[in-house]
Every structure is written in C-alpha cells, then in structure tokens.
Symmetry: C2
Subunit: 208 residues, 2 copies
DNA sequence: AACGTTACCAAGCAAGCGCTTGGTTTGTAA
DNA sequence: TTACAAACCAAGCGCTTGCTTGGTAACGTT
C-alpha cells in the first residue's frame, strides 16, 4: 500500500487541512458530524455551539453564516480527497492497478477517515445556494477528471467495453451507497470490497 | 415486456394507490415533489398548501401532522413498488430472466414513474421518527426478501460467486444513484442500463 | 326541508430559528 | 505595564415555523 493510503487510515475525521484543533477546525468537525447525523436543517447553531462548548452567538465570530459552515465542510473534504486520488494515480501508473487504487481511495473517503464530511457532501447538497453548488461542482469536476482519465486508459487497452461515463456512475453508486451498510469492523474488509467492485467493472481477471 | 411493466411506464407520479385525485392524493403528490426538490425540512406546510390551492391550516384536516405526510408518501411508494417487484417475479420465473426483470422494475421505480417519492424515501429517511423508521424498515424487508430469493437462486445455479447480500447492496447503489444522472429522454434507455447492470452482476453471457 | 359529513377559510399563537449587539476575558508581544 | 487582537459571553430581536381555533360553504342522504 502506498504511504498516502496508510496515512489516511489513521484518524477519524482525517487529517483534513482546516479541520485541525483550532477553534475553526473543531467547529467544522463538530458540524460535519452533526450534519451527517441530523441533517443540515435539523442541526441548529446552538447544537454546534454546545458540541464545542461555547455560546451559540460565538459561532459567528468564526463564520459569517451557518451556510458558510456547510460550504467549508464540503470544500475541505473535496480538496482533501482529490489530493488522495491524485496520490493514488502517481503511486499506481498502470491502468488496471490504478483503477483498483482509485476504488480503494474512494472507499476510504466514503467509509473511512472522511466518511462524515462525505455523507454531508452527498446528502446535504441541496442545502447549498446555487452559486456555491456551482463552486463545489467545479471542484468536483477536477476529481472526476482523474476518474475519466483512468477509465479511458482502460478502454484504450480494450479492458472496458461500456461507456466510461456510465461505468463511472455505476462505480459512484456502488461506492457511495456503501456508507449506508459497510461495517468498518465487519468481516468484509475495505480492500476486499474494492476488489469485488473492480471485478464488476473489468470482469473476470484474464490478462493479469 | 410483461403487462405490469408497460402499464407502469404510463404516468408521472404513477398509479400509486392513495395518490389519486382525491384531496389527500393531491396533497401527497404535491408533497412528494416538493420534498424531493427542496427536502422535507425546507418544505413548509404553506408550500404544500399553495401547491394544491388551499390554506395552510386546511392541510391538518387531512393529516394530523406534517410528519404524517412524509410517512404516508413513503408507505405508499414502498407498497406500490413491492407489488411491482412481485409482478416481475411472477412474469419471469427463471432466475436469470428474473434478475433482469427485477433490475428493470427497480430502475422503473427510481427513475421512472415513482421517482419523486423514491427520492424522498432515500434522502429524507432521517426526517422520520425512529418508530416510523422501524415501520418502513419492516415494509422494506419484504421488498428485499424478493431480491434475496432471486440472488440466492442464481447462486444455487452457480451463476453468482460473491455473497448475495453484498451483491444486492451493489445493485442498490448502482440503481439508486441513477436518479442523479439518468436522463429519461437521453440516448441510453432504461432497458439498456438494466442490461449493463445485469452484466456487472453475473458477468459476460456464457450459458445463455 | 333538515341533517350530517367533508372540505375548507381567516386569524393567530407559541416555540424555535439564525443572527446581532455591546461588552468582557484571554493570550501574546512590545 | 501597556496595548491590542482574537475568542467568547449574555441577552435578545425579528422572523418563520407547525399547528390550533372557531366558524362557514358545499353536497349527498333521508
């Protein structure tokens, strides 16, 4: 396993840049967990404040509005996981190995160290203003380009029949749904699940 | 295609029992669409009332609370789609054909006639009280049993290697995520997508 | 014609919400 | 010791929310 992967397995909220133990970082971590558990709308600024042990009004010394907290959570997590995806690409240049590395990386994002913030990204999408949806979408485009490049490389080698975009969306579905059922301490490991998913994409191992 | 499938393609909100043009049915249809578009919490009873052309207070002549509207939407859609799944089973008894019929039926639920209510079922799950989550879960167990039976039958015939529960969850992910990208009027048909998904499950056609 | 049920309106209440305000504490560096 | 910014508190404002209340119109049944 590459060092980037091993490192990312370490903590719970992950080493997301900007989610350190500064006041702002603690607010973001608490908010991410509350947003995942109760949803953005059902989480009050009083909830977040109570979680970090300050008064509700004091939050607005760190963030102008509640919406900005949600936005910050999403930007931080997407930046962090884009970097992780890029690391996986560098560590595994060969298309097939790269595919498996990307699947592992995405699973790590969704059910591993950044699972809370990732759930927020998926489920609280509508709570963002349209302007900010566009901003996050732009960041997501960078993330998706890495996937597209990998899948097109596989197609060029004749290892993928179906349309790359459709396949990518099937992978997204399988991976992101895993956050509803995967048990971190269960009998199925993240690596085993990644392997199962990869086999769904490229079929039975032929030329390995 | 079996008659049940062709019939289900007809309307937009579907022929869901209890979503007719009675006052209650019109409220449920409007609520389902609003809940999907804005989320349960961001949808006010005033929004729903405006949609059907009555005063906000009049809603509570038909439903005791706002939560009851959400619950009703979910129960109606899950009952309707369980019936559709069962119809598919009856129409296609052979395991492989049945698998494809089940995938088609589930896609029809998610991106076809009941897509609005299905989105609500997936995305507004947390807005239900725990008691009612249990009730809906019980209905969902019936739905899932149909899937399990089919996949176990495939395993018994040696057409499925991996664990049936894991495979079912991968299918759920691929299918439910389709509601975020599938274009009803695009070049990829529902049947074609179903076929692609089926091939992800049982691999290349060998003994057909 | 009288009745009862269903469907609705107009008005508003109590609670909770995001956020503001003016002032106080805490840490850091000159 | 003084100076200053960052971090926070206590109180509460204005608005929206789900829901209640008391009453009215429409309509089928006897």
């Amino acid at each position: 396993m590459a060092q980037a992967e091993a490192q990312a397995t370490r903590s719970v909220t992950g080493g997301i840049h900007g989610m350190d133990d500064s006041p702002r970082g603690k607010l973001l971590s608490a908010a991410a967990r509350l947003f995942r558990d109760k949803g953005f709308d059902r989480t009050t600024v009083r909830d977040i404040a109570r979680e970090v042990g300050i008064q509700s009004g004091s939050i607005f010394h760190h963030f102008p509005t509640k919406d900005d907290i949600l936005f910050a959570v999403m930007v931080e997590v997407i930046r962090f996981n884009t970097a992780r995806l890029r690391d996986a690409c560098v560590a595994y240049p060969a298309p097939l190995a790269q595919l498996e590395a990307l699947v592992r990386a995405e699973l790590q994002s969704i059910i591993g160290d950044t699972s809370e913030a990732m759930s927020v990204l998926v489920y609280e999408w509508r709570c963002l203003s349209e302007d900010r949806q566009r901003e996050v979408l732009a960041l997501r485009a960078v993330y998706e380009q890495i996937w597209t490049d990998c899948l097109e490389a596989l197609r060029a080698e004749g290892m993928l029949e179906d349309d790359a975009f459709v396949v990518r969306r099937l992978i997204t579905g399988m991976a992101s749904w895993a956050n509803t059922w995967f048990d971190q301490h269960g009998s199925l490991s993240l690596e085993a699940l990644a392997h199962i998913i990869v086999r769904r994409v490229i079929g039975e191992p032929r030329d390995r």
